[in-house]
């Protein structure tokens, strides 16, 4: 790897000597030219529908075929391959399927090309929050194709038995519901709430949601760190108190998505924060889930009202070093079209970015959680959009993990996090 990276460095060093000033021009609108075959670099297609979509495109565009380049399953490994590809300035990947948090880093490094907004006719019909994830400094660098938002899963049967009819909208309501259920026979041995608190990206998501749901933010509108606030403190304290009082089980500090899903499915949890993928798995009647048909979903609760979810999902971006960028733009528009997204949703249950699909009655019949998911995504906040995202998320995880696992003073933790973020973001 040392060889590859040093060669890449040499290459970039030579390249910048020649056209140091014109490199900014490479991302201008004029660069989206050229037609012909392109490639799509995507993580492993677990749904099995991506190739069908590509076949549909290829059938109608015989001279501009798209070839799928499958990358590893793991998001970190995908990013690594894309970074390596960019540093070699290789044209092997034309369209990149990017996690929503990579945009700033890739755009700042000019690894992906700016896309003029008028080249994406349907942009206005996508959920606005998802479009924000594809922007860097107010310029569009990608088109959101799939989205994802957090949902509150809850045991409807137990809440009903305890006389609660509606899902909780605030944290206080949620805790009160837990106490009511604990008093009923069915609530014996139940833990109240869990999310994903292991020290990984999921903790950044859960911490951001807590902070945002209390009215705070990690990074303000101008991109400056803003985490040393009473609102952020309230969010962190809510999670910390959850662990202290036992409302959140101690084991939740080791939970990723799957561990928390299993705990919920085994009937150990009353409330669970997780992504939409859990819905169909927890509803399986093959014996893997003990709670099939006994739960429902709601938008996440907040401090004084509905909570704020973190946005997940994927954007399609164009590699700066790709050929046939005009074809790439057309292909991205094809994938972002309502017909393709509808088809993809019904076959894979991946959340779309096209707003109208969330109101489609036939789809709602198939996926009853769509209205809640729409509410979740519509009010969702992107995670910090910063160039050094890897370092920023590591710093957030460090702070949140210390506060939750060791019970470190939340105020001091946030002050230290603010200092750390300032050193990472101002550069």
């Amino acid at each position: 790897m040392a060889v590859a990276s040093s060669l890449a460095l040499l290459a970039t060093a030579c390249g910048s000597g020649d056209d140091g000033s014109s490199s900014g021009g490479g991302s201008s609108a004029g660069a989206l030219e050229g037609r012909g075959p392109i490639t799509l670099a995507s993580g492993k297609d677990t749904s099995g529908n991506l190739q069908n979509q590509l076949n549909a495109w290829n059938a109608s565009h015989p001279n501009e075929k798209v070839e799928l380049k499958e990358l590893p399953d793991d998001a970190d490994a995908q990013r690594q391959q894309m970074v390596q590809n960019a540093q070699n300035q290789s044209d092997a990947y034309s369209v990149l399927v990017m996690d929503v948090v990579w945009t700033s880093e890739f755009a700042a490094n000019q690894w992906i090309t700016q896309i003029p907004e008028d080249k994406v006719p349907d942009l206005g019909k996508l959920v606005p929050a998802t479009v924000e994830t594809a922007k860097y400094r107010d310029k569009l660098y990608g088109v959101p194709i799939t989205s994802d938002g957090g949902l509150l899963y809850y045991r409807k049967d137990l809440l009903t038995a305890a006389g609660v009819t509606d899902a909780p909208k605030t944290w206080d309501e949620l805790l009160a519901d837990c106490q009511k259920v604990a008093a009923t026979p069915g609530g014996k041995g139940m833990n109240c709430y869990a999310g994903q608190f292991e020290k990984y990206e999921g903790l950044t998501v859960n911490f951001s949601e807590a902070v945002n749901s209390a009215g705070g933010s990690i990074v303000d509108k101008d991109g400056k760190p803003d985490v040393d606030t009473p609102e952020a403190l309230a969010g962190l304290q809510e999670l910390q108190n959850g662990f202290k009082t036992g409302a959140i089980p101690k084991a939740a500090i080791t939970y990723k998505e799957e561990e928390s899903r299993r705990a919920f499915q085994d009937g150990k949890l009353l409330f669970l924060r997780n992504w939409p993928y859990v819905y169909s798995l927890a509803n399986k009647t093959d014996g893997s889930s003990k709670i099939a048909g006994k739960f429902a979903v709601a938008p996440l609760p907040g401090k004084d009202g509905p909570g704020v979810s973190s946005l997940g999902g994927h954007d399609y971006a164009i590699s700066s070093f790709a050929k046939n960028k005009a074809t790439a733009v057309d292909f991205i528009n094809f994938m972002a079209s309502e017909a393709q997204q509808k088809d993809n949703l019904s076959k894979t249950s991946l959340a779309p970015t096209w707003a109208s699909l969330y109101d489609d009655p036939t789809l709602i019949k198939q996926f009853p959680y769509l209205p809640q998911l729409k509410a979740s995504i519509a009010s969702a906040q992107p995670r910090p959009r910063v160039v050094k995202y890897g370092d920023v998320t590591a710093a957030i995880q460090q702070a949140a993990y210390d506060a939750l696992s060791k019970g470190s003073d939340p105020k001091a933790t946030l002050t230290a996090l603010q200092t750390k973020l300032q050193s990472l973001i101002t550069q």
Partner: protein, 354 residues
């Protein structure tokens, strides 16, 4: 790399064979150089070039500043030893020394445990009893499993509702910060690599002639005396190679703590993980600096190990040769074993320099 081993061995043997004519050296030397030149070329390409390239890389930095448009200023700048100095400064310094301590701690504890267990396993595998084949095979299974897979395996065992917690009857959160995560890494590493030491020691055991033990029995030596006076000294060359291999491996430990406990956990973060983390965030200069520091550390430990223990082996052998008290057969056996161990050590030090 193994191709170089016989040549490295040859000069050491020469004084013991004075009858050989002088011509042997002249002609063979040139031929050997000619025959070896392709190997050396390949070695230079795959070993020397990456090392030099990494060293060069560690003196540069890139991609740290943004221009007014928010784009990263391209190209790398020469920063001299700054990347190295940064490692020891402030917050990164705290992180480095923590990782340094973890790496050393894992190496010492794991290697000691693995050596004791490995020797025990070898002794069991060496005994003649019914079903020995099955025992041998089952002891070797852990070593055959890739580290990442065994890390996942242990991750499931150690998770909150896993088997480990059900066995001990309380809920220990193994993957959180603290002594328990260190312990989980030590357990998993020992489980996986004690068989490796067992395998090499078993090979050493099988070169010990049965007569030596028979003689000891006739002399009425106790089991413990036989073990410490005969088995251990005779198996020492093989054991030293095994231990050296394990030390080098454990100093570079990465995948086990990374998968089993997770990245960014202070309790188990090692030097390799620091280098990975820097490279992952596309800071190749600092990453190369970390890797170089680790490389130097590994090289120093390997050199010290070979120098201290290896020199002792030769010194002991030379001192004993005139007296010849140990008996011819044992002496020859021992010397043969030493020859292979030296060659292997030579190969390891080259291999360890990655």
């Amino acid at each position: 790399m193994t191709a170089t081993a016989p040549v490295a061995e040859r000069p050491a043997k020469e004084p013991k064979q004075p009858k050989r004519p002088q011509r042997f050296n002249e002609g063979t030397g040139r031929l050997a150089a000619l025959l070896l030149s392709p190997t050396l070329l390949v070695l230079g390409l795959v070993v020397l070039f990456p090392i030099i390239s990494a060293l060069r890389e560690s003196l540069f930095t890139s991609g740290t500043t943004l221009d007014s448009n928010g784009f990263i200023v391209k190209g790398s700048t020469f920063v001299g030893l700054d990347n190295y100095l940064d490692i020891f400064k402030g917050d990164t310094g705290r992180r480095f020394w923590n990782a340094f301590y973890n790496t050393t701690f894992f190496t010492v504890v794991c290697v000691v445990l693995e050596t004791v267990l490995g020797v025990a396993m070898a002794l069991i595998m060496h005994k003649a009893f019914k079903g020995r084949g099955i025992v041998r095979a089952s002891i070797l299974v852990p070593w055959a499993i890739p580290t990442v897979v065994s890390a996942l395996l242990w991750k499931w065992i150690f998770q909150a509702d896993g088997i480990a917690n059900q066995l001990i009857g309380t809920q220990v959160l193994w993957s959180t910060e603290g002594w328990q995560s260190k312990m989980s890494v030590i357990i998993a590493d020992t489980w996986k690599t004690a068989p490796f030491i067992g395998l090499l020691v078993l090979a050493g055991l099988q070169t010990i002639p049965a007569e030596v033990y028979e003689a000891a029995k006739v002399d009425g030596a106790s089991v413990w005396k036989t073990f410490t006076r005969i088995t251990l000294p005779l198996v020492k060359p093989a054991l030293l190679v095994a231990v050296l291999f394990r030390i080098l491996d454990t100093l570079r430990i990465f995948d086990l703590p990374f998968v089993l406990v997770g990245p960014h956990k202070d309790s188990v973060e090692t030097l390799s993980m620091l280098a990975y983390d820097e490279a992952f965030n596309t800071r190749y200069g600092p990453a190369a600096a970390y890797a170089t520091v680790l490389f130097v550390y590994v090289a120093v430990v390997a050199y010290a190990f070979v120098k201290i223990l290896g020199a002792d082996v030769i010194g002991e052998a030379r001192a004993k040769k005139p007296g010849g008290g140990a008996g011819g057969k044992r002496w020859r056996k021992k010397n043969a074993a030493k020859g292979t161990s030296d060659a292997a050590v030579g190969a390891v030090t080259v291999g360890g320099g990655r």
